[in-house]
Amino acid sequence: MSSATRPAMPATTAPEGSAAAAQAREPEWRLVARKELGDLAGRVGRRAFIRTLVVVAIFGILVPLRFEGATNLPAFFAVFMAFLPARLVAIDALAGERERGTLEGLLASPLSDSAIATGKIVASTVYGASRGWLFLAVWSASAGILRLTGLIPGAPLPSPAVALGIALAGVVVAYAAAVFGIWQSAFAPSVRAIAESGGLLRLLIIVGVFFVGPWLLGLLSPDGRAPELPLPGSGRSVSLEALLAAGDIAPGSLWAAAAVLGTAGAAGLGLLTAATLRRCRREALALVTAVEPAAPRSRLARLRGFARSRSGGRN
């Protein structure tokens, strides 16, 4: 750049790499995902990253010391550990890039819309799930050691099947958190705006999925038992287990119900993914990065304006 005498690059030749290179080239979504994870690691910093891992590891060691016997609660923690980081990375995926001034450059690249969105979803999912897996691994290892050494013979150790289930649940929950987070991130002006938006629906979903649901199922109870809920006016109480028993739900039909619920969940997740990919379309993103349209007035503001106009502009 400092000299005009350098040889000119062949500006109109085809990109290097030829057919062989083109065949070996990395899929676009993976390129984006790798960039996302590398950028995240670089921004977070090695020390902060190690500190986070240490906290997760310590938590993984402490859990089997506290919850002797039952694996429900540690399993819930493992899934929750996958959810939080996936969500944090996802809400930063577009809004954060917009704040840091890198989003438009990414959109101006030859990458397809779907590759950008998919890469970001994959990166958030991998990051979240890996944190959940780390917790699961530390928990299992520490519980195994506690059992082997005889310090806590009843330390909660997940069976291989349960561990696999927890690991898969972590992936699914991290994926859902990633998709939902990126969906939010697509139109939010900043990460802080998402964090502070305090949407009631989001709060209800989080409380329902992570607290009320697990509590009703007995996942939050150290002994794994579902709570007894009083039935108003009857003087009796009932638990979810009792309801299932009263409904004479046979194990087979329970699996059928689980299959229906699983299918519905997968369909919901699929719809959310489709909505996210659609929302991540360039037009929508570029609109936010371009000229901000005038903010729509709230209903209350419109009513105030109407009232003022009726009163002849008097306040």
């Binding site: 990109p15 670089g42 438009e104 959109l107 005038a294």
Partner: protein, 343 residues
């Protein structure tokens, strides 16, 4: 590039075979705001096209339209033969862009940022690494590859952004105020780079607030204001539209002749014994003033209107209330209609 006489000296004539950018009645609205208002674009391949305007003129929106990031509200945009926004991805694959923000990732080293950018152009990891080495070596940045953007000066980050734009060997280079934050040497280096790229057949779409830079570099210039084209042509053509307040006249013993005329002489000031600056009230007055001097027996060798810079023309155009409908016809280069005109 755009020389004083308005010829396109550095343009590669062989490259001007068709249009790199073509637009008709391009309009883009954001709610009630019309950011781009019915502009026509016709930019031949292999030229530096200056797109000038004050802040809020619609330059960035136009760039987004050219990249297919935004769809026009009305009108058509074709870039490198691809209709936009449908062909946006193909256009972006042949376009290098330096946007207002340098766009480097804080968490990645410069090398990894550039390798990622090279990967987006379809290069595998090995090829991307080699290409990055080539470009940074050419731009004199090889020793900064392993640093993070935060450790670089603003000028260095801007160079990195230019390097990123060149990774895909673009047919079209869009540079949005690329010399912002660069020192004089770096800015001159970047301009030299642009000249070389254009000599190789690349088309450059260039926005800048530095009108002297546009004057030196651009083959064609368009001035926009509030999304509308206020004037267009070669820098030489636009310079002619600048207001003229004085004329430099030269002739043997001119000062003595003008002294001898006394009160019959127009208002003037001496430059030296053979040259003077004569005040005029606009370009229209020049012929009558010169004719008066000749009729009074003053011999003149040279008459040159003063103050006709691109900056003066620009200021005249952007302070005008409405686009100039008496725009001169766009230049004709190799039989192609070029430049931009208001509808």
């Amino acid at each position: 590039m755009g020389s004083a006489d308005g010829t396109l000296g550095c343009m590669n004539p062989g490259a001007v075979t068709d249009l790199a950018i073509a637009g008709t009645g391009v309009t883009r609205d954001f709610g009630a705001l019309r950011a781009v208002d019915g502009i026509d674009l016709a930019v031949p391949r292999g030229v530096v096209f200056g797109f000038l305007g004050p802040n809020g003129a619609g330059k960035t929106t136009t760039i987004r339209l050219l990249l297919g990031l935004l769809a026009p509200t009305s009108g058509t945009v074709t870039v490198l033969g691809e209709r936009l926004p449908e062909g946006g991805q193909r256009v972006r694959g042949r376009t290098g862009v330096v946007l207002e923000h340098h766009g480097l990732y804080d968490g990645l080293s410069v090398r990894r940022s550039l390798e990622f950018a090279a990967g987006t152009y379809g290069l595998d990891r090995r090829a991307a690494g080699e290409r990055v080495e080539q470009v940074v070596d050419r731009l004199g940045l090889a020793d900064r590859l392993d640093e993070r953007p935060a450790a670089l000066s603003r000028g260095m980050r801007q160079r990195m952004a230019v390097a990123r734009a060149l990774l895909g060997r673009p047919d079209l280079l869009i540079l949005d105020e690329p010399t912002n934050g660069l020192d004089a040497e770096a800015a001159a280096g970047l301009r030299a780079e642009v000249v070389e790229l254009v000599a190789g057949g690349t088309t450059v779409f260039y926005t800048t607030h530095l009108l002297g830079e546009a004057e030196r570099l651009c083959d064609l210039v368009t001035v926009v204001k509030r999304g509308r084209v206020m004037g267009s042509g070669t820098p030489a053509q636009l310079r002619l539209r600048a207001p003229v307040s004085s004329v430099r006249v030269e002739g043997p013993d001119l000062r003595a002749h003008l002294d001898a005329l006394g009160e019959r002489a127009p208002r003037w000031s001496a430059v030296d014994a053979d040259a003077a600056r004569v005040q005029v009230n606009g370009i229209a007055e020049v012929p009558s003033v010169i004719a008066g001097l000749v009729a009074a027996g003053v011999a003149l060798h040279r008459v040159e209107p003063e103050g006709q810079t691109l900056e003066a023309a620009f200021l005249g155009l952007v302070t005008a209330d409405a686009p100039d409908t008496d725009d001169p016809e766009p230049s004709d280069i190799a039989g192609e209609r070029v430049g931009v005109s208001a509808p």
